[in-house]
Symmetry: C2
Subunit: 346 residues, 2 copies
């Protein structure tokens, strides 16, 4: 039963680089896409409008912006571009967002999606206000969120560009981290990759690990231990992040002895994994063991359910860059357009 | 034997969206990449500096530019960004390009690469002046060029934004094509896809095909024939493109009767395939039957030779967008960085 007789060509769930790029391409293909852009994290929500870049200050590596761009401005530009080509966004007051002024808080009027039913065709998407929408195809671009240690000052400094990050490849090259002692929290393969990457810039990298051996694969663990610029601090957890405008140090606690100690650091990188926003898909769409959506053809955007396409960090545990997410959004829209044409729809 | 004792971490061949994005990411990873950016097509050359976008006027679908951007300006911005992070470019006068003014003709001083030897480690890259360079890893981003009919006026109008294009997904939505009769030259699956896509905007799409049946797969051919907005003109070739600032029509010749006729059209789309720039790799790297570089893992950028990564249209016969090419450049740089770290280099 639908509140709305109309069947959409494509509903896009998510509004990070993947979601907006899917919208740009779908809109230019005259599909009149409808976007569930999400709710700010002030409410319990699957998706954050604008995605993880909304918590990023300077983006230096998205190609096309030689002078850099802030994450929120970049996402406002993506959104403007999607809307320019007649993308519709589900809001409190209908489908027409006002993007003339990205600072006017219009995002607070955006709607999250509560539930999808992929067993019906057309697919059913239920908004946060329980309204039902139907669509011939879906593009899932709900992203993933970095896991944080969970400390107050960690989050505050991460949001303000104060030397706390969850992405070494994104932020490691920033001048603020040059020749500093940098801490990496985590013990998996990614943590070793991030620590190794940071040795290019840091005077020293401290890997903080709660156990007395790394979870990383043997070869990766050996690489960390062999690297003269990496010191592994075993059996330690971070219990506080020090610093006001900028991180100055971390407070550690030994998990065996309980002893507390401070270390001066010029940066902290959380490398304790990501959580893809796929809870609402559980049991409906094939996910991998880490809950990322599985692509049935890894070069494309096709999922285990025909007509459902996926893009961005919700499928990507490897690269996680704005540019790679955006490209997947483009692929998803092109794949959806061709699939709809094959079905004789549009 | 190398003219240069130094072994580079990574040499990037190509300077379209994939090449520059690879450079941005490799440079930010402190790899000091060296780029062979190619020669303008005034000389016989593998690669055109800036890639196919240099022949494009308005780009409306690269996310981040809601107001659109010209192809050459976009590529100048990519290049500036790569150079900002200490990318080096092989030029007549050394490695330091002057990108302050992208219109000053500095591109004419860029060097093409003549030959590579992937059987040696480090790999050998020979520049157009026969200088040899050695590198631990390579990123191949030499692109592909659209095949054109080969008419004087076709090329001129394609370069000037006069209604001639080789990419329906890129250009079909431009206002200039709305409600016009559009011609698509070609008879393969891509030609049917492009023609179908263009029916969203055109009043009518004419598919011009030199034979009396389409090369497209049965299902695709049927789709074209069933589409009321597509007329297939059998046994016809385009022998002239008419129009001064803007295309106004095409002159056709019947391949059976030799009869000539004119048709008024508001746009012409060449859909007769692309040629990837891989001649110089033949026999050294695994290519597919259409001569595109084969990725051994289609989610990543790895090729049949370890340490050689590939990105952009030189691997992509499906999407061919600036955003997808750029993303592959990012992946290639991240893959190269991790591979070098695994080898204990850098």
């Amino acid at each position: 039963m639908s509140d709305n007789g109309k069947v959409e060509n494509v509903i896009i769930i998510g509004s990070g680089p993947a979601g907006w790029t899917a919208a740009i391409y779908a809109a230019r293909a005259n599909l009149r896409p409808l976007v569930f852009a999400g709710r700010p994290k002030t409410t319990p929500s699957t998706i954050l409008p604008g995605g993880q870049l909304m918590m990023t200050t300077e983006v230096e590596n998205y190609p096309g912006f030689p002078e850099g761009v802030t994450g929120p401005l970049m996402m406002a530009r993506f959104e403007q571009q999607a809307v320019r080509f007649a993308t519709r966004i589900v809001t409190d007051s209908g489908f027409e967002p006002d993007v003339a002024n990205p600072d006017d808080g219009h995002m607070y009027a955006y709607h999250d999606c509560k539930r999808v039913d992929l067993s019906q065709k057309p697919f059913v998407v239920v908004g946060e206000d329980d309204k039902e929408y139907r669509a011939h195809s879906l593009i899932i671009a709900t992203g993933a969120t970095a896991n944080w240690i969970g400390l107050e000052n960690e989050k505050r400094l991460a949001r303000s560009g104060g030397g706390v990050s969850a992405c070494a490849v994104c932020d490691g090259a920033l001048p603020v981290f040059r020749d500093k002692v940098l801490a990496v929290v985590g013990g998996g393969d990614s943590a070793v990759e991030e620590a190794t990457y940071l040795t290019k810039f840091a005077s020293k990298v401290l890997m903080i690990h709660r156990r007395d051996e790394l979870r990383a694969s043997k070869i990766m663990a050996q690489r960390a231990m062999d690297n003269p610029k990496i010191d592994i601090l075993w059996n330690k957890i971070v219990i506080d992040v020090l610093g006001d405008q900028m991180i100055t140090g971390i407070k550690l606690k030994d998990t065996k002895t309980g002893e507390e100690s401070n270390r001066e650091v010029g940066g902290l990188f959380a490398a304790i994994g990501h959580t893809p926003a796929t809870d609402f898909l559980e049991g409906q769409l094939e996910l991998d063991e880490k809950k990322y959506i599985k692509l049935t053809d890894p070069y494309r955007s096709v999922t285990s359910v025909e007509g459902v396409f996926a893009a961005g960090d919700v499928v990507d545990s490897v690269y996680r860059q704005a540019i790679t997410a955006a490209a997947m959004g483009c692929k998803a829209a092109i794949d959806a357009e061709r699939w709809l044409a094959e079905q004789g729809i549009e």
